[in-house]
């Protein structure tokens, strides 16, 4: 056994995120308070106020300006971080697309919270899931430890010379952000060595006839944020599509490198299967409720049932190849979505997963279970009943509906 590197601290998820940022050589932080994200910016403010980190903290007047400030700073070569939730993310909306379009490697923690109206401060994924087409890489973590580990990895992934894309690290509001856990913290120097300092990637500028760092250095005349019409816009978007296609291998690589220094890993970095091999039924889920599901599945496994859980760590890029590989042969799949998509046939995770499985020679039965909206508790008993239902489908019972809303009064 290798001795644990670093120390153990009792931290909630928000504090774990702040601690990871503290250790990651961040240059500029800009954020605006919103429940349940606020603890992150409070802790970071303390680190800056006490001179524990060199970062500039820009106390802006809105989330829109928070992301704008990070974008300006990232364009000038800084490593940047922001954090938000729910309405704050909604206010940043137009800039989410600009951030990825300008290829600015901003890292943002989103403490997932339901969207208004009615106003609600508790967890669901409707805020970040809605941003799935904005060109951001999206992680969904299961606990505070993973929040800490993922924020550190996020800087390396975002700034990778082949990628240059913003990363959103999603953690469930209150379930993770406000729940105290023992978190293994790496020594400052280990994290610093792992993430290094931001080194902007080079870009070839035709009119300069050379490669230059893609930053506003005060001297080199590069133009960022130009207008491209029907003759060039599509090519810019294609470059973005191509870049995010390269992300999966970079996530795996960074995850593996991190495993070597921390001795902690989460599946292959993209998907985290538990009991999936040889399972008759599998539940697919993202976020903290994976813990509850694993707890139930463990008991079912002990009773001899062949039940598995597949937790997706990334939703963007969607790990379709990895998912298809581990799920091929599984007869019944339950997809647990923590977001609604009114008017759609099922919620986004269900749709994307079902679509990925469509080309299998033998298609499984895939049923959507929408849960936890606005912080509604997901009880182990509910998960057990879902598993029992899926086992019934496995015995040939046809689902009455392929989209079920669980835990709601009607």
């Amino acid at each position: 056994m290798r001795a644990l590197l670093g120390s153990v601290k009792a931290l909630n998820g928000a504090e774990a995120v702040a601690y990871a940022v503290k250790q990651s050589n961040v240059d500029v932080i800009s954020a605006y308070p919103i429940t349940p994200q606020t603890i992150i910016v409070e802790r970071l403010s303390e680190f800056v106020a006490n001179g524990e980190i060199h970062a500039e903290y820009v106390n802006v007047e809105s989330e829109h300006s928070a992301l704008s400030t990070c974008m300006g700073a990232a364009a000038a070569g800084a490593r940047t971080f922001t954090a938000t939730s729910s309405q704050g993310l909604a206010l940043m909306w137009e800039l989410l697309y600009v951030t990825s379009g300008l290829r600015l490697p901003v890292v943002m923690a989103v403490v997932n919270r339901a969207l208004s109206a009615p106003i609600n401060i508790h967890c669901d994924h409707s805020d970040s899931i809605g941003a799935r087409d904005s060109g951001w890489i999206q992680f969904y973590v299961e606990n505070s430890q993973e929040a800490y580990d993922t924020v550190i990895q996020a800087f390396k992934i975002a700034e990778h010379s082949d990628i240059q894309l913003p990363v959103m690290v999603n953690l469930d509001g209150f379930h993770i952000s406000h729940t105290l856990e023992n978190v293994n913290i790496l020594p400052d120097q280990v994290v610093s060595d792992f993430v290094g300092f931001r080194k902007p990637a080079n870009v070839r500028v035709e009119y300069l006839g050379r490669e230059v760092p893609a930053v506003l250095d005060g001297v080199t005349p590069i133009s960022l944020g130009i207008i491209a019409l029907s003759d060039y816009y599509y090519e810019f978007k294609m470059m973005l599509v191509d870049a995010i296609d390269k992300v999966k291998s970079v996530i795996k690589e960074v995850h593996n490198d991190y495993l070597k220094v921390s001795w902690r890993g989460y599946g292959d970095g993209l998907i985290d299967p538990y009991g999936v091999d040889g399972a008759d039924i599998v539940l697919v889920i993202m976020g903290s409720a994976a813990g509850t599901v694993k707890y139930v599945v463990k008991k079912l496994l002990e009773s001899g049932l062949r039940v598995g859980v597949l937790r997706l760590r990334t939703f963007r890029p969607f790990p379709y190849e990895e998912v298809v590989k581990v799920l091929s042969g599984v007869k019944v799949i339950g997809v647990m979505d923590r977001a609604t998509s009114p008017g759609a046939y099922g919620a986004p995770l269900f749709n994307e997963l079902r679509s990925a499985l469509y080309d299998l020679d033998s298609r499984p039965t895939v049923v959507n279970f929408i849960y936890g909206i606005g912080g509604r508790d997901l009880e182990p008993l509910t998960v057990k009943r879902i598993c029992e239902k899926l086992l019934e489908f496995g015995r040939g019972v046809k689902p009455a509906s392929y989209v079920e809303y669980v835990g709601v009064r009607r």
Binding site: V28, A78, L95
Partner: protein, 319 residues
């Protein structure tokens, strides 16, 4: 306080906005940008709000900007500039950039400044960033085809403040944006026009020698939107100042001062022209000229009141 300005030297200085851009003939915006940037040494970063200036200068694969330049969105130029400034501070702390201060300059139109960008501008000034924000004010949303803004004057015709039978042109006066920046306790605030270019350059110099948030409000006549001959842009700036529609002043260190032609008018009130002189050369006011003078009278009364107010502020400090 400023050294003398040599027009030949100025003309020989590095061109930071290159020819070939797609601004309309007679547009004052590129003249303003060239004058401002000719006064500013590198290192410099220019931040541009969405608008005419941005779209006319950067149609891919071309750019007119011969300096580092960024456009983010419409309402967030001030916040983006705040980030640029913060980045240089942080990078200086860890020794990546030297101690030479970078000049962070924002160019925003009236839409991006008075209206949609007002919140981020207010935040930038409140936080005290060391940034020069230049408003080129063409008094309407010209990029989308002449719609009224908070900077459009009373009575002016735009496509969203048309001359209707019930509502004749814009019913509200111009928002006193530069006064609002003074009320924010900005480090330096001034008004300028490209016609009074020596005054403009002196003000840019004074702004750059002041640490903190600086705001320069520059009138930018628009031949398309104001409906005048494209050869008239500079002349219209002179009329705006001569009628006291757009007085030239500056504020810094708690002191208000009139400058250039406006100072001359204050000393010799006989030089002050009626606002009709400014109004009658622009088709956007054609109904005001042909009508019963009600709009012109209202505009004149407003201009007179604002001018008196300004005289008092400047006189109080001068005496």
């Amino acid at each position: 306080m400023s050294s003398s300005i040599n027009i030949k030297e100025l003309a020989r200085s590095k061109l930071k906005l290159l020819p070939g851009h797609r601004h309309c003939p007679g547009c004052a915006a590129p003249i303003i940008v060239k004058l401002v940037l000719a006064t500013i040494d590198e290192p410099v970063v220019v931040v541009n709000a969405t608008g005419c200036l941005q779209v006319a200068t950067t149609i891919f694969p071309y750019t007119s900007w011969n300096v580092p330049w960024i456009h983010n969105a419409f309402e967030n130029a001030a916040a983006t500039a705040s980030g640029v400034e913060a980045a240089f501070k942080a990078l200086r702390k860890r020794g990546v950039v030297g101690d030479v201060g970078v000049n962070v300059i924002v160019f925003g139109g009236d839409g991006g400044t008075y209206d949609i960008g007002f919140q981020s501008l207010s935040g930038m000034v409140e936080r005290g960033h060391n940034i020069l924000y230049v408003l080129y004010d063409n008094e309407a949303y010209m990029n989308t085809g002449i719609q009224r803004s908070g900077g459009t004057p009373y009575g002016a015709l735009t496509t969203t403040s048309p001359y209707g039978t019930v509502i004749p042109g814009k019913p509200q006066h111009k928002k006193p944006i530069a006064d609002i920046m003074v009320a924010h306790r900005a480090a330096y605030v001034a008004t300028a026009t490209p016609a009074h270019w020596v005054d403009l350059i002196n003000k840019v110099r004074r702004a750059l020698s002041t640490i903190g948030p600086k705001f320069l409000h520059v009138l930018s006549p628009c031949p398309r939107g104001w409906r005048f001959d494209e050869s008239m842009s500079i002349e219209i700036c002179r009329l705006a100042v001569d009628t006291c529609y757009f007085p030239l002043w500056e504020y810094g260190g708690g002191v208000w001062r009139l400058t250039s032609r406006s100072l001359e008018i204050a000393r010799n009130p006989a030089l002050k022209k009626p606002v009709e002189e400014f109004v009658k050369v622009q088709e956007r006011f054609r109904h005001a000229v042909s009508d019963d003078q009600r709009i012109i009278k209202e505009l004149q009364a407003y201009v007179d009141a604002m001018w008196e107010d300004l005289l008092n502020r400047c006189a109080v400090r001068h005496s």
